[in-house]
């Protein structure tokens, strides 16, 4: 298993001198353009109002390249539309960063002793990488592949190219060096969906956007009466999170 530092093509990483987070902010992808009132020319597109007016969140483990990839990926997986703001506007990239920084991201409760053998799919995950390592290595491999295929890192692709690239990863057709694009995509998608639908205390699902979208009420204490009163009738409630009861 190649560590992410040794992937081929890694030296050609920096494409220009614009720091990535500034680039993203300028493009409105991180969702702060409208919130801060900074309408920046063509970047101020017709996206719905962001879920939160939060300042950019400080990152715990993702570097700027990884963050840019993550934002671009979660916004492709969960695009802004009539149903919800984009993934990153809902805090999904923040969720992923925090999860990778958590005990889980560091490999807690995982058997990590060797020898390492690539078994059959039925035998499950068999790599020495922690979830945080796996995610970082996957991003590095995805960007190498993206540059080879499209000439740019993933986050600098056009929206339709991003969707095409993610589909290629999902189907395992994106040929990453020493890395399974299918496995990487599966982890990326799982984390994205967790972040979108998790309780907002974890940094995603800002303003309970996905719970409102689904009609999921969060944590009310009891439905012992409602379950009878609302047979075949929609129960509607303002969603409440752990923070609302804390």
């Amino acid at each position: 298993m190649a560590a992410r530092e040794t992937l081929p093509g890694e030296g050609a990483m920096t494409e220009d001198t614009i720091p990535r987070r500034k680039f993203l902010l300028g493009a409105g992808v991180a969702g702060t353009a409208v919130a801060t009132g900074l309408v920046q020319g063509a970047a101020a597109d017709a996206r719905p109002t962001p879920a939160s007016a939060a300042q950019p969140e400080p990152l715990l483990v993702l570097n700027e390249t990884e963050h840019a990839f993550t934002v671009a990926a979660v916004d492709t997986l969960i695009p802004a539309d009539e149903l919800s703001p984009s993934g990153s506007d809902c805090g999904v990239a923040v969720y992923i960063d925090r999860q990778l920084a958590s005990a889980w991201g560091g490999g807690a409760k995982t058997y990590r002793a060797g020898p390492y053998v690539q078994g059959k799919p039925e035998q499950g995950y068999q790599l020495p990488l922690t979830p945080a390592d796996f995610f970082a290595a996957g991003i590095a491999a995805a960007n190498v592949w993206s540059r080879k295929t499209y000439g740019h890192d993933f986050d600098r692709l056009e929206p339709d190219q991003r969707a095409e690239a993610l589909k290629a990863m999902q189907e395992g057709k994106a040929e990453f060096a020493n890395f399974s694009s299918r496995a990487f995509f599966a982890r990326l998608l799982a984390l994205t969906m967790e972040g979108f639908f998790a309780d907002p205390i974890y940094g995603g699902n800002r303003n309970k956007a996905s719970w409102r979208m689904l009609g999921f009420p969060g944590l009310p204490a009891t439905y012992a009466n409602a379950i009878d009163q609302y047979r075949d009738k929609r129960y509607v409630a303002e969603p409440q999170s752990i923070a609302d009861f804390s």
């Binding site: 492709t76 997986l77 969960i78 695009p79 539309d81 149903l83 919800s84 889980w104 807690a108 409760k109 995982t110 058997y111 990590r112 002793a113 020898p115 053998v117 078994g119 059959k120 799919p121 039925e122 035998q123 499950g124 995950y125 068999q126 969707a163 993610l166 998608l189 994205t192 969906m193 967790e194 639908f197 998790a198 309780d199 974890y202 996905s210 719970w211 979208m213 689904l214 009609g215 999921f216 009420p217 969060g218 944590l219 009310p220 204490a221 009891t222 439905y223 012992a224 409602a226 379950i227 609302y230 047979r231 075949d232 009738k233 929609r234 129960y235 752990i242 609302d244 009861f245 804390s246």
Partner: protein, 589 residues
Amino acid sequence: MVTRLKDVDAVTVGLGWTGAIMARELTKAGLNVVSLERGPDRVPGEDFILPTVRDEVRYAQRLELMMDNSIDTITFRNFPNDRALPIRRIGAFLPGEGVGGSGIHWGALHWRFLPSDFRIRSTLTERYGAKSIPDDMTIQDWSVSYDELEPSYDRFDKICGVSGQAGNLRGKKIDAGNVFEGPRSDAYPNAPIKSSNAGLMFGAASKSLGYHPFPAPVAIASSAYVNGEGVTLGACEYCGYCNRIACETNAKASANSTLLPLLRLDPKFELRARCFVTRLNYDKTAKKVVSVTYTDMRNGEEYEQPAGIVVLSAFVFGNVQQLLLAGIGEPYDHATGRGLVGKNYAYQFEAGANAFFPDKELNPYWGSAGMGVVIDDFNGENFDHGGLGFFGGGYLTCNTAAAPPIAGRTVPKGTPEWGSEWKRATVKWYHHAARFNTQGSVYANRDNYMDLDPTYKDALGRPLVRLTYNAPDNEHKMSRYLLDKLEGVIKAMNPAHYDMHPRPRNFTVVPYQSTHNTGGTMMGPDPKSSVVNRYLQSWDADNLFIQGASVFPQQHGYNPTGTVGALAYWSARAITTNYLKNPGPLVHA
């Protein structure tokens, strides 16, 4: 340097359901009991509280209550000739860890096995002829009958405050309950919990086809209840968060909520949490386990705890590992078919379906995970297997409840997994998707077993258990049959669309399927065919009592915990009424 501690009357290795039942029964008989639990203590009023228990990420995704694979896991392969590899993070099954074990996070489905399940080889022989049972199907009769176990089933029902509707009360059949069940000496302690809207639809459709629907029995109190030990349990709130999570109202029964409140006050009981038992010290000549060795995880020191009675009450894999490491009994040898420890591993064979009702509001997030309407017409020997080409069966259920937002969004097959189209489908169907399951038996097969892994070790330096398992052809045929029957009911519900979800050919360690792992220390009539006798006493060490689903000779079409708890009461009664007066083998070989 191992510190040798003072003798105690009894020690339990693990403190889940069976450890707590045994500790309670033995302390009541006057014994001093020490429970050694590898994981942390878990106290309802401190650890199972609002709002923190309603956290899908922490409990259902990150598996807070489950075993720590950095310390301990098993290795797995589908076939005896494959190379087994470690399950690096559990997925298909989720054994718990800490005080309460798997009995905290369970779905609380609370079943009894059928009278015919306890004598399954005899029943099949009588009905279909001895030759009908394939050579590789190594099923055995239990060495306890339903009638013998019934008082213990009833006792455990009343500890848990089980909610349900009797279908056979002392031989009288009651249509609202399960008319296929064995006779119950008493009704369920609580009325059935409420059914979901989808469950009611399933019940009506199955009734129209001539089947016998009833609400699933659950160890969840539908009303506040004072249990058989005088402990008050709360009423279910239908909060929707109980699967993989603790219950803050103590409506869902756990050892923590039903028995430990008493044990914690009892000076005859001592809990030592974070104490990992690494070895049973076996005197083969005396046929006794003289002591257990454990590591206190808080200081890293080793201790030897001598005990008059040793209760092995770990999960299935831990029980088997302890016997194999200690050299108690003969390990199963797959090549020759000889030996018994590790033999007859079995599992639950589940397969499901989803159906979509755009005009029905199902409010899918509330209720409890186990809440469902069930038909039992195709379980065990409730139906004629003549000409079907398989044995076994299972129950069919619609359990549309407790669908959390990360893991509980159901969409039709073929829906994109991301993008705007995915989002539209997710919103469109979340309130209108009904979910179904078939809960099938796994009859033992000579190729499914456990032994010690030659390569991988746990954090304490012990070889891991190696599991060799794949669902046999018999189980695939059984499951297809159940799915066909389920499809008939679903069609009668008239959905806009439905998808059947048969299991892939090979068992895989992800995704989640069931924590109903069984076998490896099976019970039976004699030491030639079993590891423990009918009282769960080891044939090879008369002071060793092995608890839990590892004593099942095969797994039947029901959740195991009801039977696990009943067997613990049955075993405890044999100890307190006979063994204590006259320590020695309770059954003479």
